[in-house]
Assembly symmetry: C2
């Protein structure tokens, strides 16, 4: 029985993604070729291409999973309804900031893959940004119902709330100013400011 | 009398800056060498270097002047004290957005010089950001005095107010999303949101 036959198509897809992510972190996205991954997987490049038409498609799937993981963290915070809407928004912004920052400053970095995803996989990023607005809007609506917030249009408010934090959410901007100041404090300050706008 | 002798040192400095800016707009910053400028000026490269130690130093001076021009536009708005603080803040954010956007979408672009300035001339950019905070704080203080705004710390409020607009102020972000949506409307929406925070 050949090694190839031991894996189902789904398992092979998973193996490719796991090996690719590990490789991107270790070697860098730009410096990795499909042939490198195929080599590490003991597969031919042609076989890898049967699962993913391009390196970009692999990057897109890894980015999608990372972002799903991020949304999971935010949903856990939203689900803690013992906390006020204001507190949950503050925990969400800090979580998002730290999640995005970790892509750059963890020991094993995915920086250039994240940059590539933002250029090459815009639909995935766009869906992520829409999800963020929906999640913020959910908490803002709960805050309205609880009398914490006075907001006319929760989707517009959530859009602005998210947008106000671009300097601490956007990977490129985090990378530029990460050594300048305490970004956690900047995140908290921006959230306090933006929450005032929800209460006005 | 040689052509060289016809110009004072200050005049030569000006000529270098004028020719350099024109050249950067036409050819691009990255593609321009000091030798190209020297050639156009009818000077030796060594002579250009007597005035500016590097292309980066020329870029820095052009960026400084552009930013001074931008601050002038904002100061004109601030000086119109017939308008409310809120109205002046809204005019300032729109002016800043359009000024930064113009660097990318005007017929003759300085895009790559702006990018270079943000990397190579960070002190000039940092001074610009500090000036923006000071200008916003001035109007916020006037709004406090007029009973328009309720703010504890006008510098912190001005910092947050500016930061909330990063997505429509930051050249790189403007360049990324300029074709996505109506950025003027996004600017106005963010300003309305941020002004609510000043009133809370």
């Amino acid at each position: 029985m050949s090694s190839r036959a031991r894996f189902t198509a789904d398992e092979t897809r998973e193996r490719i993604l796991t090996v690719a992510e590990e490789h991107f972190r270790r070697v860098g996205y730009a410096k990795t070729a499909i042939a490198d991954l195929a080599n590490e997987l003991g597969m031919s490049s042609a076989n890898v291409y049967r699962f993913f038409p391009s390196k970009s498609a692999i990057c897109e799937e890894i980015a999608r999973r990372m972002l799903d993981q991020c949304h999971g963290l935010l949903r856990d915070i939203i689900a803690d309804r013992t906390a006020s809407a204001e507190d949950r928004l503050a925990r969400m912004t800090m979580t998002l900031h730290r999640f995005n920052k970790a892509q750059f400053f963890d020991e094993r970095r995915l920086y250039d893959m994240v940059e590539a995803a933002m250029t090459e996989s815009w639909p995935v990023i766009k869906a992520h940004l829409d999800t963020l607005v929906a999640l913020f809007a959910e908490v803002i609506r709960e805050g309205m119902a609880a009398g914490e917030f006075i907001v006319r249009d929760p989707i517009e408010a959530a859009t602005c709330f998210k947008q106000c934090h671009v300097s601490v959410f956007h990977p490129t901007l985090i990378a530029h100013c990460a050594f300048d100041e305490d970004l956690d404090e900047q995140t908290a300050r921006l959230t306090r400011f933006a929450i005032r706008a929800l209460k006005a």
